[in-house]
Subunit: 350 residues, 2 copies
């Protein structure tokens, strides 16, 4: 069963309920956590026979708003839909958690309730982002806005393990997002991570600039959550800007409108590539169970896709295998750093 | 006269010489700093009568490569084209400096040789970036990758003064780039700057996410140079990606190719909007004289545009007026901060 925070998202609970119902009709077992007095009438209106589907409602008297300060809200609101859904995962009643709500709060419940994988300093949000001919896996996309070098070093290992497993590449090419390819480029944080990754066993190919990502030379892109979020949202924004420009330009002449109408399939397919609703959601890596963050502005179709994506991950036991591999890698790094600098480690423990 | 670092850029000196020659033909007085043994034959080949144009060559025996460590190179290579061009500006022989070379080195000569405006902590690179129907002025685009809150606070004042002057807006809307509009969003740096700007006399409208920039709600976008560089290069990369997608999709059917051919004017005009060669270059604000950074990958046309842009700035005495206004604003802030926290200021000076 997948636990869904029905109250999370800009258009919740309506679109969450609708998306969940559509997924349940495809046989995916779900529980909607939220205000039953609102959710049940929505289900009734959408499908009077919904109770025959693998969907249940777990009533919660509270919810966390999009603009609430996350950690405070999570600690205070014990009966919030997101908190209760996370407990269902923690207790093994649910296999995964999905929320389109306050992403800071999703991160907080994932860390505080579901729990981090042993050795993981900070969970990271990762997703495949489109390029000219394929995609790269980018992390962190927003979970950690203030990072230390060792967080990014771990993100590189997470990206390595995830892409190796999902894309079946033995040695994914790992790059650091920077403002130039030269090793001396970037803020202090990036230079420190560069030095660490250069010494690692990973297939680290150095720094890459955002404009060169298009050329499919990278499998995993490592950055802090603030920069990753800017990257993701600039991609979304630029795709939107260009489609608005095309529309506006087309208005200038009938001939151009005819031309674009004839070629409209081209734009339909491109829209699909940049349509984040199709991707469904981003994964939170480094926690004990699958957690998927859907977009705050998700519509019912996006929620349905996020559920199908999560269902696939659960079916494949993707997170179990990933976590096992990650733990063995993290153990190797910590052994190596103990071996390499016994004196400094001893000093620290004194 | 405008001083040009003829040896800076991926395709220097060929494209720089060609672009400069084209600008000189339009009556703009220029000096090319660089290896005369290479530059003069290039000029001869392009136009045997070049000596009748307002263009001169100032021989330099050294140059700074794109991948050299900037501050070290600037200090060590006294006869580098960039260093000599900067001295020409410092000594009043030139009105402005243009380079498509190592941007870190351009920043170093601007600070060390041309000099900062009184009270400016860090110069910043700024440029107008396109939106749905207009543009916003973004700074810093890459000069300062490690920032303190007071740097970004000053960037907000620089952006205010520049946009007020150039766009003739009395109170430009100023926003901070963040991962959410809420005041608690963003890394510590952004939260600290938010608190400062909220107290300021500027028209500070809060945080903005990169994907919302398209809607023309912001006149000045403030960010650190690393994040600004990622924003700029993601915009460039995404425009490139989308145009490659359109080309590839069009190959799938003859009908689509016909449609796109009919509508080709649409794409020509959109290409112009995202064509950074047309913009010419970015301005370094906060230094005593106009300094323009052209793109490293500039072609002759981009260099010509950068020269025309710089010429316009010199003609308008844009930087003189801007610097005067900026100084009076910075004086006001420093007076205010002295008045507001006399004890902490005294503690610092002890």
């Amino acid at each position: 069963m997948i636990a869904i925070d029905a109250m999370g998202g800009d258009n919740a609970p309506q679109v969450v309920v609708e998306g969940a119902l559509n997924a349940a009709k495809q046989g995916i077992a779900l529980t909607l956590f939220g205000d039953a007095l609102v959710i049940k009438p929505l289900l009734d209106a959408l499908d009077p026979l919904w109770s025959s589907l693998p969907i249940t409602v777990d009533h919660c008297s509270q919810f966390i708003a999009m603009d609430e300060e996350p950690s405070f809200a999570v600690v205070r609101k014990k009966d919030a839909s997101l908190v209760r859904a996370a407990h269902a995962v923690r207790q093994g009643r649910a296999n995964a958690l999905i929320s389109a709500g306050n992403s800071g709060a999703v991160l907080a419940v994932s860390t505080l309730i579901i729990g981090r994988v042993s050795g993981v300093l900070r969970p990271a949000v990762g997703s495949f982002l489109p390029t000219q001919a394929g995609s790269f896996f980018c992390l962190d996309l927003g979970a950690n806005v203030d990072c230390r070098p060792e967080f990014l070093e771990q993100f590189a290992y997470m990206g390595h393990c995830y892409v190796a497993q999902v894309k079946k590449i033995s040695s994914p090419r790992i790059a650091l997002l920077s403002n130039g390819h030269e090793p001396y480029k970037g803020p202090t944080l990036i230079k420190q991570v560069y030095a660490q990754l250069e010494k690692s066993q990973l297939n680290f190919i150095g720094n890459i600039e955002a404009r060169d990502l298009v050329y499919d030379t990278v499998d995993v892109l490592v950055c802090d959550g603030f920069v990753g979020n800017v990257l993701l949202k600039t991609m979304q924004g630029m795709a939107k800007t260009m489609s608005l420009w095309i529309k506006k330009e087309a208005e200038q002449s009938l001939l151009q409108r005819i031309g674009l109408f004839i070629a409209s399939n081209v734009f339909r397919r491109i829209k699909q590539k940049t349509d984040y609703a199709r991707i469904g959601g981003a994964l939170l890596l480094g926690v004990n169970n699958p957690v998927v963050l859907a977009h705050g502005s998700s519509d019912a179709y996006a929620i349905e896709n996020a559920i199908k994506f999560t269902h696939q991950i659960v079916q494949e036991k993707r997170i179990n295998s990933f976590n096992n591999t990650l733990v063995s890698y993290l153990n190797k790094i910590s052994c190596r750093s103990l071996l390499m600098s016994p004196s400094s480690e001893m000093q620290q423990s004194v």
